[in-house]
């Protein structure tokens, strides 16, 4: 019973990925019937995705964004989360409330003024502009995640640091940061996946598909009216592969982070 349930669950979960794979192996330009292994597998579609759609540039751009957005979001979130949890200051509840709003705010709602903001800063079609927007979008979650973490550390830590005469900055650096390692790793994993997969802001802020997030790059495969389905599927698999690899290495941390992330809400 348990085994059949597990197998059924695995089959349903993997079905779309299997479909992507077999479709990606059919001759380019065709519309293959569902889930049929091609008589002559076109593994070359994957190399074509690199050659004709320059998916390598898209992957690099996606990676660059992750490497920009995640560290910056972590740094800002750590500082703000620490203050919200451990430094009593006037207006703290207001600051926290502002971040709470962002937690449930649908991003679609603010896309247009965000576009104008980025344009007015002269950052349209730049990695910087897109990165700033994504950092800002991740901050509510990041800040409250770190706040939850710091709030869960024993208060004696801060007190003892204070007794030692350390200011809040050195208390954070010397006492709290070493203990936040695990929370930071998990947050980094979540933010990396979300940045990699993000579509909307990339679509709006960067015209060139190859300079967007990985998910935004799939547009590079689209023609005027339609698409080359097998090539598009090959491209989709190529942008999916890195997250699947990451997940294979760290699925327990990811699962744990998702559950803890929910608690942050």
């Amino acid at each position: 019973m348990k085994l059949t349930t597990q197998i059924a669950l695995a089959a349903v979960t993997l079905l779309p990925l299997a479909e992507l794979l077999v479709t990606a192996l059919h001759p380019p330009g065709t519309h293959p019937p569902g889930l049929t292994w091609p008589s002559d597998p076109h593994w070359s579609n994957f190399t074509d995705a690199f050659r004709s759609a320059h998916i390598d540039r898209a992957l690099l751009s996606g990676a660059l964004l992750v490497l920009t957005v995640v560290p910056a979001a972590l740094a800002l979130s750590t500082a703000a989360g620490y203050a919200l949890a451990r430094l009593p200051f006037p207006g703290r509840r207001i600051a926290e409330g502002l971040f709470l709003v962002g937690l449930v705010l649908p991003r679609e709602a603010i896309t247009l003024p965000l576009y104008q903001q980025v344009r007015d800063l002269g950052l349209l079609n730049t990695t910087t502009g897109l990165a700033l927007a994504l950092i800002a979008a991740h901050l509510p979650f990041g800040v409250l995640w770190m706040r939850t973490h710091f709030a869960s550390t024993p208060p004696e830590l801060t007190d003892s640091a204070r007794v030692d005469g350390a200011g809040p900055w050195s208390a954070l650096r010397r006492v709290h940061l070493p203990l936040a390692d695990d929370a930071l790793r998990s947050l980094a994993l979540l933010l990396s996946v979300w940045t990699w997969n993000h579509l909307l802001f990339a679509l709006v802020l960067v015209d060139d598909p190859l300079r967007r997030t990985a998910a935004g790059a799939l547009d590079a495969f689209q023609g005027r009216w339609g698409t080359d389905v097998p090539l598009l599927c090959a491209g989709a698999l190529l942008i999916t592969a890195p997250v699947v690899v990451a997940l294979a290495l760290a699925h327990r941390r990811f699962a744990d982070a998702l559950v803890r992330g929910v608690a942050v809400r």
Binding site: A10, L76, F89, P90, E108, V118, W169, N197, L218, L232
Partner: protein, 276 residues
Amino acid sequence: MRTRLAGWLFVLPALAVYGVFVLRPLALVAQYSLYRWDGVGQAVWVGWDNYTAVLTDPDLHRPLLNALLLVVLFTAGPIVLGLTLAAALQRGPTLILVLPQAVPPVAAGLAWSVLLSSTGAVNRTLEAIGLDNVTRAWLGDSSTALAAVGVIGAWALLGLCTLLLSAGVRRLDPSLYEAARLDGAGRWQEFRTVTLPGVRREIGVCVVITSLAALSSFDVVYVTTKGGPGGATAVPALEIFHLAFTDRQIGLASALAVLLVAVVLAFTAPVLRWSR
């Protein structure tokens, strides 16, 4: 005293970035919603007209209704199936459960649009079991397209809900089950009287997550149907995008955005309170 100021210094960098790229745009959306504006020329004050238009024009309030239907579709499947799986498995295969949360929604949407196409695997399975007469292009038929989008959303959320619910189930005190069993409860009764109330909080959290996913579903619809056919899968997220960037009806787009935010808050606040 030093600490009191220091607190702000620590929060300020994050708040500045967040303020410039999220809070200020949010305030601007509220302002724009009261104007008629094409984004280039002069804006004209129209008061509540945009809201009236959104609420009375079927083309504009249909996305909101569709979003509410999607809330049901995104929520029902993952929670019912998730509870079943959580009760049956206690601890599911983690990698499988979290995979749909990591696959880019654009890739998942693409895969499902192939699966659900007229010659796709879903129809071929139906034909194989003799159900030829129900086969169709699921995403291209206005009577099934929204449900098909719902299936994609349910696929993406089932694992996460199962994960959350089974964590809840595992935390339940085993003695509760023993007590129920001593009272002669069957498996269903046990589920109803022990498991269900025990994971109430987890269910609430799941509802919030699935509702949020449904209300701001952009990626999957953008990849699969672009809101078609005939507006059957138009959702607020996509409609805002089109109104703002293609039609350049900034006022209408903003009014719809404000209403979407209101719906989101109306949904998440009470559920969160109930599950606490």
